[in-house]
Symmetry: none
Subunit: 216 residues, 4 copies
DNA sequence: GATGAATGAGAGTTCATTCAT
DNA sequence: GATGAATGAACTCTCATTCAT
């Protein structure tokens, strides 16, 4: 690990602890203690606990956003103007999501954090994410819209979130689920494994027939 | 609300607050304050905060479990011995889940709580649920197995959790999602609505083709 | 134990718990819980925790006082008017102290309680004891005075307390000391044993030469 | 009092209050209030109430142990190899015990604390003391053994504790006893006074004849 | 005669944050 | 640039006691 600076040490430690326990359950004392830095360092370097939480997210989302924009650029270039097929779009998300945190604690932590962002009170966090990273999501949904012209807008909106939910829920609850899976099937599971299993399910979900009496 | 006893008042208040903010973010002070009871009442009636959390769950899961067993009994009776089709099983879950909390704060709170049970540290809660309510889940998965004989065991396991994740994630994050949906599509969404939309997606997900190179 | 009434059950339980842990460290909840009676019973039957503590003492001290008076009567009768020798007086205390709690949890508990009465804050208790049981002690010291005419009054006062201290300290700390003794000498110790060992030591202490330059 | 640092202020205040009321009866709120420091300061500087209690003891026992070792070194040097007489050994304890807390609240507090250590539940404290200060006690008893070759081991063990009990009980209950003494004999008592009175008593106690039928 | 329910007070502890150095 | 010390607020929990029944 060589000698890394205080700011990084805090981020590294905080991200793991947040993912393991949630935000409220992780005290600054625990973070700074494990990171081997002074208790006051978080407030000194980040200003507050809230700001630290946002910084932890930014370290994932900044490169994710950048790469995802590039990936979409590449896709659009390849299809020059024509509709990019849904499978390619979904593949693209998956690839980016797998690529970004590869060097770090990996997808699991990232997803765990995303799940927390949804499920924990942290209103400030949801606002922060929407503000800084809403654009790329909007671009993506635009492309998905062109790829699924027969889907009513509302239906598409919900299905995207169904699918997002599946991914976040599964990958973030990975440890708990792995425990159960391994005890039931004595079988090891890797993240890539899970993503492979998710692919056909996600595609099928997006392409499912419309519900009866769809009023929209 | 008429005059309800202290225990119930605490449960009612706690369940809403837990769902809104999470467990760690909801203090006993807030609960008892809002419920208009003495601060010590929680410890008197439940023993500890942990026990209160579990009690909140039991109030949903006990009737849910009972009804779900009945529903499965009815299904098995109707098909006397023959395989119950997947659609009927999934329908049965949905119906039970909708029926139980109908009189209460409804499905949303219940799902929010379930989501928290997964995502928050609360190890004690996961253990409690698995211990007290594992049976009905086991029975259900057994029936699903008969209904999907072509699905490898591991694949079925994961798909059930994919689908469970979708439901929990969507229904529990309902408020946040509703905000976005309504601002994007100026459209009201009800829980029943969402369940209706979920149905074909869930079926499609379970019936999706196997992933390439499935090693199981 | 047959069926004993609530008051007795409380006293029996309280006395053991007090001796084991001290007064402040023993809650009414613990007492009533272990005694299998209602939490409010202590306050109902005794009025307060203080009154319970005093009642526990009275149950020992009332018979002790009565018997000790009888024993001193007998001694004085035997020596009709002549000085009762010190050894006889000390023997008399020891015998009474051993006899009274024989049917109960025995001397150890009694001494433990006495020790607590001295060492714990409980000012109310010291006052209570002095008020209700001071007479017999005064009578005893009067006899000791006649038996040790060469001892200055102050010296006698202190030596009696030295000796009382030895007894209380040793017998009340019996469990801790037994632990150490048994681990050092692998030897069992009984209360009677200890009293036998105490006898010559106490006599020698009372008869020790006066200190140098005794200014009294 | 000049300006002393928080840690010391807490220790000074705690030691007096503990001695006056016992451990359980002294709340951190009382200590910090009287010391004029923040309530959280105890936990910040010591970690817990238990740790504070142990720290209070260490402040006495560390210098006591050091000085006592030195005193025993000096004695052994003076007698080079030959048996150190019992009187010299006892004198040495008394001197050290008087010297150490001279600058502080004095022997009374120290003894009161020791008494509490025996009589109050505080198992952690007994363990702490035995662990950190057992050595010097072992060394001392070794020397006493050489000085009293005719005493059976068990007898010596108990007599040492008898004598220790006398000292602790008398000196720790000093205030109560002084009250009684002064009201009976209108006479002031100092600690040095009491130690002077204790000396011949203690020697006589150690040299008392063996009890009848001593089985050891 | 006895009790289940409830309560106000106070316990030890942990928290994020601040500030002088 | 960084930190040890300190703080006020809030936490969960336990206490002895009261009271309507």
């Amino acid at each position: 690990m060589a000698e890394v600076d205080t700011t990084t040490r805090i981020l590294d430690t905080a991200e793991v602890l947040f993912a393991e326990r949630g935000f409220a359950e992780t005290s600054l004392r625990t973070i700074t203690g494990k990171a081997g830095v002074n208790l006051a360092a978080v407030n000194y370097h980040f200003g507050s606990k809230k700001a630290l939480i946002q910084a932890v997210f930014s370290r994932y989302l900044d490169p994710f956003t950048a790469r995802f924009h590039e990936a979409l650029d590449a896709l659009e270039a390849r299809y020059h103007g024509r509709t990019v097929p849904l499978e390619a779009l979904l593949e693209s998300v998956a690839e980016t999501a797998l690529a970004v945190p590869a060097e770090r604690n990996s997808l699991k932590v990232f997803m765990r954090l995303l799940g927390l962002a949804y499920s924990q009170a942290q209103g400030h966090l949801r606002r922060h994410i929407q503000q800084h990273y809403g654009d790329v999501f909007t671009r993506f949904t635009g492309l998905v819209r062109r790829a699924t012209p027969d889907l009513p807008d509302a239906e598409r909106f919900w299905r995207l979130h169904f699918v997002l939910g599946t991914a976040i829920f599964t990958l973030s609850g990975l440890d708990a689920l792995k425990d159960i899976a391994e005890q039931d099937y004595a079988q090891q599971v890797s993240v890539r494994d899970l993503v492979r299993r998710l692919r056909p399910v996600v595609v099928a979900a997006m392409n499912a027939p419309l519900p009866d009496a769809a009023r929209t």
